[in-house]
Assembly symmetry: C2
Homo-oligomer: 288 residues x 2
Amino acid sequence: MNPIEPIVIGTVRELQSWADGMRRSGRRVALVPTMGALHTGHLSLVRAARQYADRVVVSIFVNPTQFGPQEDFERYPRDLSADVQKLKGVSADVVFAPSVSEMYPDGNATWVDVEGTLTEGLCGRSRPGHFRGVTTIVLRLLHAAKPHVAFFGEKDYQQYVVIRRMVRDQLLDVEILAAPTVREPDGLAMSSRNAYLRPEARQQAIALNAALHDVRQLFRSGIRDARSLIHAARRRIRKEPLAEIEYIELRDADTLEPIIEVEGRGVLALAVRFEGTRLIDNTVLEVG
Amino acid sequence: MNPIEPIVIGTVRELQSWADGMRRSGRRVALVPTMGALHTGHLSLVRAARQYADRVVVSIFVNPTQFGPQEDFERYPRDLSADVQKLKGVSADVVFAPSVSEMYPDGNATWVDVEGTLTEGLCGRSRPGHFRGVTTIVLRLLHAAKPHVAFFGEKDYQQYVVIRRMVRDQLLDVEILAAPTVREPDGLAMSSRNAYLRPEARQQAIALNAALHDVRQLFRSGIRDARSLIHAARRRIRKEPLAEIEYIELRDADTLEPIIEVEGRGVLALAVRFEGTRLIDNTVLEVG
């Protein structure tokens, strides 16, 4: 396939009019929402999206409302022209790169919340307001791009489940799909925040995937209880002197309710800091 | 025009598929959200909608989440077959009459909020959570019917402004329009809740419109200050022994910020109870 040059669109009105045209001519549209600083993980989402749609829109928007006041909004990596080049390589059709004022109009006062277990635990605990920012912006992006299907990475597992819940509850006619986490050769889950890691921390960060590997091995050997599975992960990660564990938890994979044993599908999710850089990863554990 | 029989649809999926078909064939769709118990005011919204669209959907859904625990959700009037007959008379194309579980799916956890001045004052003060229920359900109805335009009554002025804000903020590609309040011959604004009024209260309730009439006369004579305009309305309503004033306020017609004087466009809005039945009304005052 010849790489095509994506159209770069900056306004909601222009994107909606493009999407209307696609829909009128019977073409299926996919959206891949990102914050830019694209890596192979994002590009694999675009490739997955191509399987489900005739046209793929990739949005690039570093959403201020999902960052806490002490978080890395200001220093979050931004390089639109490099991102557009990468997207050209995977034949994305449209890059939607709006300004903050385009996504948060003058007088903005509206928020979308998913309440309860889905947003209260795991990343919700240490990042209050984070999911409110995510659901609010994702619904806006879905309204702007009018896709038939939208893709999210399984690495942000809680985000995926929260967005799926929000779209179902709000009766929006969009399919929400997740694509598998893409990893570096040594197993570290790809993330734009990996760029913050100094070499020593980068080396120690492979413990996350190694821990999940240990968990899966235990699970395959018949261990189902949260205590043992979490303990295995904790033991592996604690070997790394720079690792500060924020949480390691076992939850129901759909409701994110805490479970004491995997019966149907569980997810073991973890967040660990290395010298201030917060990394997350997870593995889904399915019985049978 | 020959009255046509509206299609009655009960599920979101069926409505979305109907709307997709209309959009594919280039037809414009209008939505008129109602809680049923239709009166001439609702029917005038349907007629207004016909001017803007090829097909008109009227939703009939008594939304539990916009009623407070002490409010009239249980006794709110419901008569679907009478409503369908009335809608046949104004050639509505679709009546969307979903169940509560259709609009609030299993595991429902999502809310849409407009925060700040728009929802805090006026009806928001005595009805905490009311607008949260309204914005959450209206966005769902807009997702279900996929209209190009949706119509709301000016009688619920604050509701109209709140919904317009929500739709703008969430970047939803739907035009939100308001149609003028329809009144009984004696001036009382049409409302499904008028049916609760006993004869004496019904007679005294004309004071609301009479008060707004006094306010407009003062305004035309050059009086612009909130104090005088509110005083005139209060004086007229206080003449009625059964009237209990909840609020009479002058606000900016767009932002709903309190104002001490009308400069551009103001709205004088009021809520009054008669033997427990809460009635609202308003008038927009425009300089020049």
